[in-house]
């Protein structure tokens, strides 16, 4: 599963940002994961627990914010949240492939000292 290598990348970025800020420990990582990013939050959490020990995030907690998949319906000029990966607008039932949110894979913040 690629969550393992994605978490490695996250921890590496976090360690670099921590050092740049003159800190030595990470206490909390917050990440944002879109429902269409291809990343499974449970798998990411498992990878975090398995990988954090030898990093400055050894004692840290992980917070995952899941971002729903939101599409734009041109006909209604409005956004709609997709339910179970169905891309039909709930108002006019037209399909939309114009995804506005839901592919995020971001390290949003770190709590360090």
């Amino acid at each position: 599963m690629h969550e393992f290598s994605i978490m490695q990348s996250t921890l590496e970025t976090a360690a670099l940002k921590m050092s740049a800020a003159g800190a030595t420990q990470i206490h909390r990582l917050k990440v944002r994961i879109g429902r269409l990013s291809g990343v499974v939050p449970e798998a990411l959490r498992f990878a975090f627990e398995a990988l954090k020990d030898k990093t400055p995030a050894a004692g840290a907690s992980l917070e995952i914010e899941e971002v729903p998949a939101v599409c734009w319906c041109a006909g209604c000029a409005a956004e709609f949240e997709t339910a179970k990966y169905e891309y039909a607008c709930p108002r006019c039932h037209e399909l939309s492939g114009d995804l506005r949110r839901g592919k995020e894979m971001e390290l949003s913040s770190l709590e360090i000292s």
Binding site: K17, A23, P56
Partner: protein, 278 residues
Amino acid sequence: MCQECGCSKPGPYQIDGKPVATHTHTLADGTVVTHMHDDDHGHTHDHGRHGHEHGHAHPHQILNLNTGILSGNDRQAEQNRGAFKALNLLVLNVVSSPGAGKTALLTKTLNELKGRLRCAVIVGDLATDNDAARLRTTGAPVVQIATGTLCHLEAGMVAEAMKQLDLRALDLLIIENVGNLVCPASFDLGEAMRVVLHSVTEGEDKPLKYPPMFHSADVVGVTKTDMSEAAGFDRELALKNIRQASPHAKIFELSARSGAGVTAWCNYLVARQACGTA
């Protein structure tokens, strides 16, 4: 990503049998480490320059980053895309589950496009160059990337493999990704067109089971249509599911064996290349 040392660089992969990926990382304490991944030296560096334990004298601080976790890959993908556009080279990233018929369709496509587009292929697999050997029978230049343990191709591997090809002498570059409907969805390679293949022997609900991959498709190819009847394939249901998972994708129904649909698919590629790769 390197599975051994935890950095975000590609790990020990090979291009046409030769190990690639000498790389440098900066450790958390600022130490710069350069190493090759084709040796067996192991990865023990001690943390002598900084301790891992200290009191809580300083207050906690919140760093707001909002940085992309795969931003390294995304940056490289944009560089690749820029290089491809400058050369008016149409680039496809072809993905499917293992055994959906990527190599068979591409072999057929390459033969069909002879004299119309100058083509080359970069093909990724965990191991062997069997697919490269099959594709080379068409006469097109083929570069094999053996990813080792990695379940997908990354933009940096493509950039490395591109060096083996004379890109100026090409119109179409096809990247055949590792057979996997999950991981490659997250890794942009710089392609103009993502092609997701779905064979009739896989049933009708693959698009609903793997929504991120199908949603990322520009083209969905339904392959092995010559076997539809034997597989009891419900065509209408499958097309409905594809449209539901990927309303924007163009759909081709194809058989590499009988050749059905292949001409329309090749004409589409020729037209896309002619009108620029934007």
